[in-house]
Symmetry: C2
Subunit: 754 residues, 2 copies
Amino acid sequence: MSNITKKVSWSSRPDESGAAGEGTPLLNGSEQPRHSRQLSEEGSLFQIGRLSTVDLEEERTSDEDSLRGRPKEIPHNEKLLSLKYESLDYDNIENQLFLEEERRMSHMGFRCLEISRWVVCGLIGFLTGLIACFIDIAVEQLAGIKYQVVKENIEKFTEVGGLSISLILWAVLNSAIVMLGAIIVAFFEPIAAGSGIPQIKCYLNGVKIPRVVRLKTLVVKVCGVICSVVGGLAVGKEGPMIHSGAVVAAGVSQGRSTSLKRDFKIFEYFRRDTEKRDFVSAGAAAGVSAAFGAPVGGVLFSLEEGASFWNQMLTWRIFFASMISTFTLNFFLSIYHKNPGDLSNPGLINFGRFETDSVTYNLYEIPLFIAMGAIGGLLGALFNVLNYWLTIFRIRYVHRPCLQVMEAMLVAAVTATVSFTMIYFSNDCQPLGPEHTEEYPLQLFCADGEYNSMATAFFNTPERSVRSLFHNQPGTYNPLTLGLFTLTYFFLACWTYGLSVSAGVFIPSLLIGAAWGRLCGILLASLTSSSSIWADPGKYALIGAAAQLGGIVRMTLSLTVIMVEATGNVTYGLPIMLVLMTAKIVGDYFQEGLYDIHIKLQSVPFLHWEAPATSHWLTAREVMSSPVTCLNRLEKVGTIVDILSNTSTNHNGFPVVELVTENDEGGNPAKLCGLILRSQLIVLLKHKVFVELARSRLTHRKLQLKDFRDAYPRFPPIQSIHVSQDERECMMDLREFMNPTPYTVPQVETLPGV
Amino acid sequence: MSNITKKVSWSSRPDESGAAGEGTPLLNGSEQPRHSRQLSEEGSLFQIGRLSTVDLEEERTSDEDSLRGRPKEIPHNEKLLSLKYESLDYDNIENQLFLEEERRMSHMGFRCLEISRWVVCGLIGFLTGLIACFIDIAVEQLAGIKYQVVKENIEKFTEVGGLSISLILWAVLNSAIVMLGAIIVAFFEPIAAGSGIPQIKCYLNGVKIPRVVRLKTLVVKVCGVICSVVGGLAVGKEGPMIHSGAVVAAGVSQGRSTSLKRDFKIFEYFRRDTEKRDFVSAGAAAGVSAAFGAPVGGVLFSLEEGASFWNQMLTWRIFFASMISTFTLNFFLSIYHKNPGDLSNPGLINFGRFETDSVTYNLYEIPLFIAMGAIGGLLGALFNVLNYWLTIFRIRYVHRPCLQVMEAMLVAAVTATVSFTMIYFSNDCQPLGPEHTEEYPLQLFCADGEYNSMATAFFNTPERSVRSLFHNQPGTYNPLTLGLFTLTYFFLACWTYGLSVSAGVFIPSLLIGAAWGRLCGILLASLTSSSSIWADPGKYALIGAAAQLGGIVRMTLSLTVIMVEATGNVTYGLPIMLVLMTAKIVGDYFQEGLYDIHIKLQSVPFLHWEAPATSHWLTAREVMSSPVTCLNRLEKVGTIVDILSNTSTNHNGFPVVELVTENDEGGNPAKLCGLILRSQLIVLLKHKVFVELARSRLTHRKLQLKDFRDAYPRFPPIQSIHVSQDERECMMDLREFMNPTPYTVPQVETLPGV
């Protein structure tokens, strides 16, 4: 760790860099590259060739110095970018093999390809919907059993006075279930922890996170999320759906499973990063769609988090996957609920319908909504700061799997205890109405025919609690209950996020927000008792939920649409939008969004949408690394092996140059011919595609695109390829395999333009 | 016209070409460029410089030959692309002036800029909403008066038997009103004809259509659309809203009006194509949003029709404009309807709410929906083919304004006559229910307490007719009425589209579709009289409307979302999507979409999303024009004036090269330094930015970015700039003004990649 260098090989994600004018977190303030002057002299190669590898390389000696004093366990420093992340290759490699294949294809071939893309998207939607359905039913069944057991126990002991036994039963049950979930995550697939949204966000932005879209991750994720929700943690099952959808997409689109060692020999054309990422976008959208019943929101989520380019057909396919996903979920849930054909459960969470007639808002309420947005932003920033510290603590001291499992169990037990205590000491009794909307009403110390209102919020799956906060009649909760609930749930949720369990933060955020939002509504109603417009605290619960969620995750467009779709009422579009905007502005003033924090803490080299405003000062010349590691068109095998093995230059792509034979006085010694990727070189080495020195006698069979596709995506490391001393002397002809038309950036281009 | 050449200067819309892999209609089948071999030898300049000007230039001798025999009046040939269209400049010109300004700006400056972008978008939404509100109220008032007068007249003459007088009254009234609308369009602003959607689509795709976003166009458009709707033509007022929103956006964002000669000295930073187009997208979205009450649909419309890049902040702002627009409309309409605070009229057309409980569909109905989609596709293609022939006819023979006005009047009179005849001969009487949903029920020959059902469809604004087809009770219409109505309205709408009046095709399409859709529903119900699921013909009307509209305009994603938002029910998302997909596939088999037909007929060089599938055969080298017109960094004024005046090379941007002083044997005589635009050269010439031959004595004041912005967007033609013989001998230094980092494309890049 003493010589950490950052390399963000922009060369292999050209559409990112060419697209939206992206900046980089590296280039803030004092971090001006020190090589800049030197480069402009040395970089004469660029004058003609316009190499595309604008690499960022900085040796952070200052950071290193400050690191040296610390203990060995510190696995990271958030300001450093990790070397373990590579970028996806977005540029189509238009080499001779590829062009030959494209030119062999007929019109019919392209049409079949297009149709199979649609089929894949349909499958993605269908499978994602099924998974959502499975999770929903599993959670409902298991949680039902658990609540029934605990409820009976509580009822038994309420009168005889041994409620501590109930508490212990509850806590032990929760801990046991959560332990199961934590063990599979911590020991088998740590990447399945959390909601997976930061990881998917990175993936869609072009960062290849290892193991993130594997089958094993999916299995662990699904089982893990069931355990954590059933285990009563302050989590939701919605976030993980996005990750699940993405894994499904990555699997289905490749037509094979490396884990299961099955190759169906279909969809081979899609075995490259460009195509795969498109499908992963569709999968993520299908996940959102299934989670919230929001197909349009899903599409916008994919676009907001991932897309640099707007591609009409792709978006249309993403929308198709989303539609199929929500339809599948809806259809199977309607069968499960013994009401086939009733397609009114489009998502895992349904906010219930806000009817325009009954719940309307007025122009003068908008400032109030905006104020609530600001509160949401503040609370969200607080949540994020606390979670940030907690995560730093966890990274330092809780990084062994068994410790992680124990922490998760502890949280589960504490959650149960706190809930129980809150319910126990609450004296907010509500009459048990004829509608009987509560699934598990706890009478506790209330009179007969009444139930404990605090228990509605705590002794229930969070989805139900949210819905009851939105829609229950005015007067169902008293303000003290809501205030206490907000406070405890806030800290519980904050503690829970980042545990090594699969779980999302959407629902807890909504729940916290709905609680304090409803509180605001009640207070307003009591202040202005005459006017009926304030009477319904449900809409304030909705606004509060939006504000809190916006304050924590800082999503904007897609979240607005998701909320609008989930409430089924476009009238609330404008207030929700204003609230989310306010929450984002206020929150950003203090701290980044939760997902961005976790991305940063994982040292992922993530490029944001906008370059820093003042980065017009910097040009490509000043941020690129130098000297550039180049290969010749006809290169010695030994040189290639050495370059690939050299850990200090482990770039992912190398420019291929041609030496101009003129005398050197013009200062133009080399000309760019193309770009070749590390993975391509590895495949070439593996297949021994060498030209012996006695020219033009080939020692290898003709390589096909298929060879590259078969190796994709798990290319072996260079160390696993044995190259004999004789072979080192051979030459490799790169012309046929390199991409002759890589993206290039002029040296004088400013950073936002890059 | 004898020497028509096509020049699509790709150089100045690099993000288009770099983005989605766009092809060009030029390169189909036999149209292989003849220069290709020649170029690869001549183009040695490209070997190093990588010029960005990949211009397409073809002299179509074969087409010319076939043209020669025809009369002079033929103003176009649809296979030729017109020279009158230029492209927008999307690349930020990062020249020294620009960089200096950017570097002078503080963090605060960028923040203010960002805030002013939001303010502009808010204003755009507000004004667009107001315009929609104005149109709606004006149409309602005027149409109300008209229908009242005619209704009273008809009632008077029904019994005494002089109904022909009523017919004449109706026809004359309609013709007079339509004449007014046609006169202002035909004589004052022909670009305001039609819905304006094809023009906006072109603009968003980077084609600069002359006069399309001017204030005068807006005024003519608004008055024109009121006249045509009140005049009883088979048109809607929704399409023109999109154009209106775009004009508002282009005007507001520039902070001045060239027509009114007012410059508010604000938003000067936005006076360039890049920024302006962003705002125009927002305006178009706000227009859709106001028209259909579909803010998300508006955003997606803008993206589907225009965007190559997905920019998060921009989309978010577009959404904001859409939200404000629908909110403004809703708010003011609620005041107009004396029901302030009731925000349930979000758009100009409201489909009314389809409740999930009452109107549900079943899995086995989906094949039926798809079949209806196919019917919609067929009917849409028929509509488009008929309209295509009609438009060809109009272009040939009806191109004088007074002829156009007369045609419009004729159509108005025929529409009135046909409607009247249909109503007269219809004997479909329906009881006048207690709800009394019809605004102007005509009794005619029906018994007392009944009204003529055909009159509901014809004697009404089309918006109301659509709604009654969707929501009226089963049995309100008999099948014969619907069949006849579909038939006549189909031909009327087809005849009407393309008239020189401002009017949209959305509502007529929906109306035709709703009519035959409802017919299908009724037939299905009569076939399977037992099952209650078929009972409601309203949902079939909805599906039919979607199918017909999809078959005509071929929009996909945005139309689905618009329909979903307008019905307020996400459950119908999947069927609508499948229907639109089917309609598009079936329709595309026969004929392009209506908007694409009109774009082609106007000879606009429009690039589609996808390159032709088999264009991998072609590389940039083969489609570029040669020799390239280059300028030196220090160029003689005379040369520049000559190049700009030369009509055979009227490119919009010129590469600036540096001659390498080496001996020529290497074959690299020139190196690309940058790109300079025609408009920049014009401004430089206007301000006489010359360097006299006695070096470095400048004869001009220092030019500012402001000078370029003041001239934007109406740069004078080169002919209006006088350059004396002495001045012709001066030199111009282009280095400070050229864009040093234009987009470049390697010669060997394939066409889809370009």
